[in-house]
Symmetry: C2
Subunit: 227 residues, 2 copies
Amino acid sequence: MARTESAFVFDLDGTLVDSVYQHVLAWKDALDREGIDLPVWRIHRKIGMSGGLFTQMLLRETGVPITGDRVERLQQRHAEAYERLAGGGSVKPLRGARELLAWLSDNDIPWAIATSGHKDSTARTLASLGVDPSQTVVVTRDDVRHAKPDPDLFLAAAKRLGVDIRSALVLGDSVWDMLAAQRARALAIGLLSGGYGEDELERAGAYRVFADPADLLLHIDEVSARD
Amino acid sequence: MARTESAFVFDLDGTLVDSVYQHVLAWKDALDREGIDLPVWRIHRKIGMSGGLFTQMLLRETGVPITGDRVERLQQRHAEAYERLAGGGSVKPLRGARELLAWLSDNDIPWAIATSGHKDSTARTLASLGVDPSQTVVVTRDDVRHAKPDPDLFLAAAKRLGVDIRSALVLGDSVWDMLAAQRARALAIGLLSGGYGEDELERAGAYRVFADPADLLLHIDEVSARD
């Protein structure tokens, strides 16, 4: 039986670019300004889901009344703080990210990016990666009803690539990526480059875990063996 | 046989105060300025050892020539960046930290703080915690020849408390705390509040792992059972 290459669907922050810790402290800053006291490591563990869901969850867990105004203000303040922390070109692609995407393109393996971020805020991140969204399948928060841990982003990416998500690989750094991949029935591969532990990713369903995109590219034959 | 209560020897950053992520991004900033490209998650995984050893290790791993000048400059730049990121009172005690220390004092259980930080830089952190270093055993980098993962800090803390380190509990958030505790033959208790994963702490020798100081205080009978 002929086999086709698996498509690769990538998360963006923490998976292809080194931006997770800046996002974490930007959320910390936004929450502090709103008088919501959360330890930084707990914010880190929530990162990767949609900003709206993230703020709603935090408010619910801390018992602060959830209002549309407050959710919107938190997201606005996060965006401002992230701009301060990540401006000036300090956020860079992770080791091997550009090379991995180039290798996939050179080998005619379809790939896409599916991020919980909004279109506007991901534009600069994509530019740092050398990805032209007009030439690449990029699915953002604005394209789907529900972001991770719902499977919609990955399903939309597979649809636009014209592949079956059940034969695709989902690459992510957070447990929300792994959980959303399971819900989409894709195989999930975890990367440590977002700062989660290996066991956290495995418990959330990672089929394999690599250090970063460079480590994945080095072992690409283990996950994308060719005939 | 009469038993005595175990003494508690605490790490500071990530164990009693919520300062790890600010330290991580401060190191990132210092390394960027020195032209040394390291992903943030790898910096996070090195945090907790002495600043001098940390910079020496990073330089060795990245193949950058190690000079005294460079090590000193990196530490200076880290201190400046940390001041920017953690100034204005944004670094706070972790949930339950003050209450845990008060509980130990109220129950006549000896405790001390042993940190890889220098005396000057820890002064404000101690103040945020309500700890008066003239009334408490506080061992800093300046008091010992080698910081973590060497056991010297914990050994010095036990000596100043007048207890045997082999019957003491060491509380920390990083693998370096767990490793240094093992070398000192103390029992190590890991806290997740520095952002390491549970398995990382257990593999490095943690005998128990709790979420944060509040979680440890809630379960204090499990680790410090009284007659």
